[in-house]
Symmetry: C2
Subunit: 170 residues, 2 copies
DNA sequence: ATTAATAGTTGCATTTAGCAACTTATTATG
DNA sequence: CATAATAAGTTGCTAAATGCAACTATTAAT
């Protein structure tokens, strides 16, 4: 799929989704965080079709999110492990899990709680904060061009800012 | 697709992905955060096929992430707006955008920076924190059954904890 | 009343995913 | 070492999802 074709803003979100936005990919990564490393284990835990799993693991390896390492020194079989790039996705995965807990399981409560290993305390919800630690909402945020902005991006951001003022200040 | 079929852990992540994990959905939500509300605008900004856009907007409305509201009092035409459930996804979207900034645009830098509207300061990276505000990494985290855990979930979490000890303490 | 814009729908081609059986290589076992 | 068992895919086929472009039906503007 070409999700960025006519996109008028060069956005890291679309790029990220091109790497991890395919069916199953995030659940594969969740399994990785759970400690799963072997093909058969991914397949059995997720119930994913074997050919799709093959394809997804290859994409993740090609993009540096997982790496294939020998099961042990000199072994021919390998396993799939998170790279630091992959581990860095944990924030996204936990944020999305917590969103599901909040909105899809209000009655039952979360099936799984993430705790800090040392203290055993449940971690608070991942959220957007200001530099000095205040929690921010959608309305508190705006966007400005960053160092990698193209002209198109600047233009789009200008239009967004303008539309916002029209709607918010009237 | 049935992504949760053989899943042996009842996970909010899989549920979340069933709502927002389809092609295009997250980019549609990004557009919503940018202020886009009308069908034609979504279509033109994203370059998405019209029938797919129709389907995605319907799913998002059905699940309470967007809502259809009349363009103005009494008008027949409507527009699509984020609900509070939808706005609550901003954390995920920013986390994923920032991940893309970090790993896919190391040279150029981020095309878009999120700032706090009042201060103009760029917001820090969304991250996982402990109760007292320390930043946590993958290794600092563990999982325990929450109030909504099933027997299967408990069993799986037990296995994960056991495997972790074997690998980490040797 | 007529036109233009908006918001879809429909039919068809292409791509992607699911399934189950088959293949190949690699470890374990007697 | 031979054989079996496991692991890790591959292949061929079916079903479902997506892309595209043209068409339709409202609604709003003049």
């Amino acid at each position: 799929m070409v999700r960025n074709k006519i996109d008028d803003i060069n956005c890291s979100l679309a790029d990220s989704l091109n790497l991890i936005g395919e069916w199953w990919t995030i659940l594969i990564l969740r399994e990785s965080f759970f400690g799963t490393r072997r093909f058969e284990d991914f397949q059995q835990h997720l119930g994913i079709a074997r050919n799709i799993l093959t394809a997804r693991l290859a994409t993740l390896c090609d993009n540096g999110i997982l790496e294939r390492v020998p099961v042990k020194e000199g072994a021919k079989r390998h396993e799939y492990r998170l790279t630091s790039m992959g581990r860095d996705l944990l924030t996204v995965i936990i944020a999305l899990t917590q969103w599901g807990d909040r909105w899809l399981r209000q009655e039952q409560g979360a099936p799984v709680n993430f705790i800090e290993r040392d203290s055993g305390e449940v971690i608070p919800e991942v959220c957007i904060r200001s530099k000095d630690g205040r929690q921010l909402k959608t309305r508190d945020l705006a966007m400005v061009p960053g160092p990698g902005a193209t002209d198109k991006t600047r233009e789009r951001l200008r239009q967004i800012a303008e539309a916002w003022h029209k709607r918010e200040l009237v």
